[in-house]
């Protein structure tokens, strides 16, 4: 019953975000700030993780292809499919649930605890719009981060595969281009966008509606990470079922 009421409150929050818009000149600077905090500052960790995971995917695939009849170009194919379809959109989103999600929950939660949200409300400002809307807009940039992750992941796969002696560069590029279905990029883009909305709003919900003090802010950040991850994983299943099956 409690879960149902949270789900209901979450969707009411979505409605309330758009109830009364903040002045455009104020929103503009908030959006730029959020793009920097949520997007640009996440770029380093995304590049680092993508590079190494791309490399590991290639090594694991190569080591598990023991049949001499299987062409080595399949290593490049498997790396591409793993990175584009799942690793970059889904697992980077889950990593971002830890980084960006906990940042959002703790910053909004601290504002709740220190009555800063009450101060906004007393001034006649729609605090949900002021706090959450810029995050939603900033997260429109998230799919572009995922594209960067895909590119860097494939670079990592190339470096580990070719310089690790598992396959030649020609074999890698042959595999990379093999049976490429452009819709798979659309699928990855669509789910990245949906995950971005989840990343902006589920942690905001946990921060905005939290009650208590400093300890509860920490608890809310943990709960937010767990629930954001769960929602991303369940959505991933549903989107895949709808778009690919």
């Amino acid at each position: 019953m409690n879960y149902i009421s949270h789900i209901g409150q979450y969707f009411i929050m979505w409605k309330d975000i758009f109830r009364k818009m903040t002045k455009y000149s104020v929103l503009r600077s908030l959006i730029i700030q959020e793009i920097n905090d949520l997007g640009v500052r996440s770029l380093g960790i995304i590049v680092f993780i993508s590079l190494f995971i791309g490399a590991v995917i290639t090594i694991q695939t190569a080591l598990n292809f023991s049949n001499p009849l299987i062409d080595n170009s399949l290593i490049g194919f498997a790396a591409r499919q793993s990175i584009i379809l799942e690793f970059s959109p889904t697992f980077i989103s889950i990593i971002m649930a830890g980084k960006v999600g906990s940042y959002i929950t703790s910053s909004i939660g601290t504002m709740r605890v220190t009555e800063q949200i009450d101060a906004l409300e007393v001034m006649g400002i729609n605090s949900l719009n002021y706090l959450v809307f810029p995050k939603i807009v900033a997260m429109f940039a998230f799919p572009f981060l995922i594209i960067i992750s895909m590119f860097v992941g494939i670079v990592g796969a190339y470096v580990a595969g070719v310089y690790g002696g598992f396959l030649s560069a020609d074999q890698f590029f042959t595999g990379l281009k093999e049976d490429f279905i452009p819709f798979q990029m659309v699928y990855a883009f669509i789910k990245s966008f949906i995950f971005a909305m989840i990343l902006a709003t589920v942690p905001s919900y946990h921060g905005y509606y939290m009650k208590g003090g400093a300890l509860e802010v920490g608890k809310a950040a943990t709960t937010s990470f767990v629930w954001t991850s769960i929602v991303i994983i369940v959505s991933n299943y549903l989107i895949t079922q709808l778009l690919l099956s």
């Binding site: 009364k20 903040t22 104020v26 220190t114 009450d118 101060a119 007393v122 001034m123 006649g124």
Partner: protein, 254 residues
């Protein structure tokens, strides 16, 4: 003027406010006093609309708050200033940005006009040279003054102060009290102060509302406190020996 009529508020089985009816006049400092847990903060939050009362009405002049549309409520809230117990300053903004915030949101002033107004109110609360500092770099008293400056910068008609003296030394508390009283007279606003500081009661209490377990037990001014027969109020106000002595002296006409 704010008129409160038969206000009730409960949290589950806990009946926090019980049928409160009173008025708060413009141009005087209205104090809400009572022990911790007596319902003062809940009362204040019901007045400004942060909490929804179970029953009863709050009138701002002739407008009943509960019957206003969300848009009208937001318009009314633009006329309110609030000084929170902890200051509630936006900690990522400088003092100047904090004070300028309500102007930026609602006032069609140019940047220069806003800056002039910010400097004017910071000067009014005796804060100079702190414009570029962050709230964390200020003392508790200075933070309260910034909070007052933010509360009055947009020319409010109503000023609400939730325990503005908590955590401050007696001298600073007194300065804050005097400042709020002066601003109330100067701007001719309706000021409500939620406090359990007895110095505030005697120094600036032009109208005092005493709450006990969510019930309005007594109303009067700082002078009538000395002659009051209400046992609960006397227990609350004269819980320290210093104030007991003061009362004896006052009754003797010393």
């Amino acid at each position: 003027m704010i008129h409160v009529k038969n206000l009730n508020k409960s949290f589950n089985s806990d009946h926090v406010l019980r049928g409160i009816t009173t008025d708060f006049q413009r141009g005087i400092t209205n104090l809400i006093i009572g022990q911790s847990g007596s319902g003062k903060s809940v009362f204040l939050k019901c007045l400004i609309g942060l909490l929804q009362p179970d029953s009863g009405s709050v009138f701002y002049e002739d407008k009943e708050y509960g019957k206003l549309s969300p848009k009208q409520k937001r318009e009314l809230r633009k006329q309110m200033g609030m000084v929170f117990q902890g200051g509630a300053l936006f900690d990522s903004m400088t003092v100047e940005e904090n004070v300028m915030f309500p102007l930026k949101m609602f006032n069609p002033m140019s940047s220069n006009q806003m800056l002039n107004r910010v400097n004017e109110v910071l000067d009014r609360v005796n804060l100079k040279g702190v414009n570029k500092k962050l709230p964390a770099d200020l003392s508790g008293g200075m933070q309260k003054r910034v909070s007052i400056a933010r509360g009055i910068v947009n020319y409010p008609k109503y000023l609400f102060c939730d325990e503005p003296n908590s955590g401050l030394d007696p001298r600073t508390s007194s300065v804050i009290d005097e400042l709020i009283q002066e601003i109330t007279k100067e701007y001719n606003i309706t000021t409500l102060i939620n406090t359990h500081d007895m110095n505030s009661v005697f120094e600036i209490g032009e109208k005092i509302v005493f709450l006990k377990d969510g019930i309005l037990e007594w109303t009067g001014d700082s002078q009538s406190v000395h002659h009051c027969e209400n046992q609960h109020l006397n227990n609350f106000v004269y819980s320290s020996n210093l104030f007991k002595q003061a009362r004896k002296a006052n009754l003797k006409g010393l």
